[in-house]
């Protein structure tokens, strides 16, 4: 069936089987392979994208269910060469090694800061608990989100 999904503000249309999962629609159709396809069982969180601003697991969502909704992937974070503060935070605080979990962690962290600009460490740990990282032990990911929160707050003050 013909399905049209808004991905990063662009309307993406394709004739697909209803059983196609959102993660494959994103990776195959516009070729946005930043969203990672991991455990396929909604456990690992590598496939997290935003649906109308809320993080969801795209391996456990049908693409057809997303018609009429705004999907945002990791590719949308960087704008004109400028990294999003969460991306910059991951870079500054060495919050990745292999990078497999990173797109999901970034999108989950972005959604957290959009809802709660000044989260406590506990709130950060809870927010990212739907993602599994086998490299960092999460410590540096928490530090990266804190870095992003602080720099976003400083930017807001300047404005």
């Amino acid at each position: 069936m013909q399905v049209t999904v808004s991905i990063n503000g662009e309307s993406v249309s394709r004739d697909i089987e209803p059983r196609q999962l959102l993660v494959h629609f994103i990776r195959d159709t516009p070729g946005l392979t930043g969203t990672h396809w991991g455990c396929d069982t909604s456990n690992c969180g590598a496939c997290v994208v935003l649906m109308d601003g809320q993080p969801i697991k795209s391996c456990t969502t049908l693409a057809v269910m997303c018609e009429g909704h705004e999907i945002r992937t990791v590719e949308s974070l960087e704008v004109d060469g400028a990294l999003d503060p969460v991306q910059q935070g991951f870079h500054e605080m060495h919050a990745l090694q292999c990078g497999f979990c990173t797109p999901g962690m970034l999108m989950t962290s972005r959604a957290l800061l959009d809802e709660n600009p000044n989260p406590t460490e506990d709130e950060i740990r809870t927010a990212i608990s739907g993602g599994i990282c086998r490299c960092t032990g999460y410590k540096n990911i928490v530090a990266a989100v804190q870095w992003a929160a602080q720099h976003e707050a400083a930017t807001r003050q300047e404005v």
């Binding site: 209803p18 396929d40 909604s42 993080p55 697991k57 456990t60 269910m65 018609e67 809870t126």
Partner: protein, 291 residues
């Protein structure tokens, strides 16, 4: 790659439309809401519906409100909304206890109460919470609505009283003075299914237990409603000894099976300890000694 078998998809635009579609499509049609139980089952080919009817657009099924002497929750209400609801936290704190340990925040953005109850997995938390709180559910079909108590709702593993061509639309929780509730769970790691979990509700009037609810997750083929513990508690003065005795009954009356999460004796032990703890917290909350 895990991919579900082929199916036809349609999106409902009204409750009546969803019921009409269920009837038109017949026995191989299923409702999909969050999909976080159904899609994994479909990927493993444990479920192979030929038709999926998507009810995610039915905003009229998403609500939490107090109406008369009940709190009513729409079937499409998502876990995140149950977790954040101050009304539920005030009236039935067992909900928030359970919600913080159901899956993870990202999954909770999609999963719904209706889906959780209809999945009828014995390890699922909200079924125990609703059972302890003496909830009933509203099931709607072409011929109208019927209200079914939680006791008659779970009829077997992954089986509920929702029949062909019917849709669960609402969960109703009776309000009664002097109530307190709690949910206690032990899992292997954050976000996992329970090894065992216990929900308890107490309604205390004039210092004695007027009514009690006790239900267990993950220690039987379905949610275990521990009626014998409830009988023991009714009419008694709350005490740690009484709660320990009720825990003992819960230990005896559950029927866990051994698996990767633990052996039978361990699960029975947990069921008892968690029942005791849940009762203790429920009593403290009923007396407003704990937030």
């Amino acid at each position: 790659m895990q991919t579900p078998a082929s199916f036809e998809y349609e999106r409902a635009t009204s409750v009546e439309g969803a019921i009409e579609a269920l009837q038109r499509r017949g026995s191989e049609a299923r409702i999909i809401a969050g999909g976080h139980s159904l899609l994994p089952m479909m990927k493993l080919r444990l479920a192979n519906p030929e038709h999926l009817i998507d009810i995610n657009d039915l905003d009229e099924l998403s609500f939490i409100r107090e109406e008369g002497n009940e709190v009513r929750i729409g079937a499409l209400t998502r876990h995140v909304e149950l977790l954040k609801s101050d009304l539920l936290a005030l009236r039935f704190p067992a909900f928030r206890d359970a919600e913080v340990v159901i899956a993870d925040p990202v999954v909770r953005n999609r999963g719904t109460i209706g889906g959780s109850l209809c999945q009828a997995d014995a390890a699922e938390d909200l079924s125990a919470v609703c059972s302890a709180l003496k909830a009933s559910v509203v099931i709607r079909g072409a011929g109208g609505e019927r209200v079914v108590g939680l006791d008659e709702f779970h009829i077997g593993p992954y089986m509920t009283a929702v029949g062909e061509g019917e849709l669960l639309t609402e969960v109703r929780l009776p309000l009664r003075a002097g109530g307190g509730s709690a949910h206690e769970k032990v899992e292997r790691r954050a976000g996992d299914w329970a090894i065992a979990a216990a929900s308890a509700a107490l309604w205390i009037e004039n210092g004695t237990i007027a009514e009690a609810g006790v239900a267990l997750s993950a220690v039987g083929p379905t949610t275990v409603h521990v009626t014998r513990a409830e009988e023991l508690l009714r009419g008694k003065v709350p005490s740690d000894e009484l709660f320990a005795e009720a825990g003992g009954v819960a230990s005896e009356d559950c029927t866990p099976f051994p698996d990767g999460r633990g052996p039978v004796d361990y699960k029975r032990h947990l069921a008892g300890v968690l029942t005791k703890r849940a009762l203790r917290r429920a009593a403290a909350r009923a007396r407003h000694q704990e937030a």
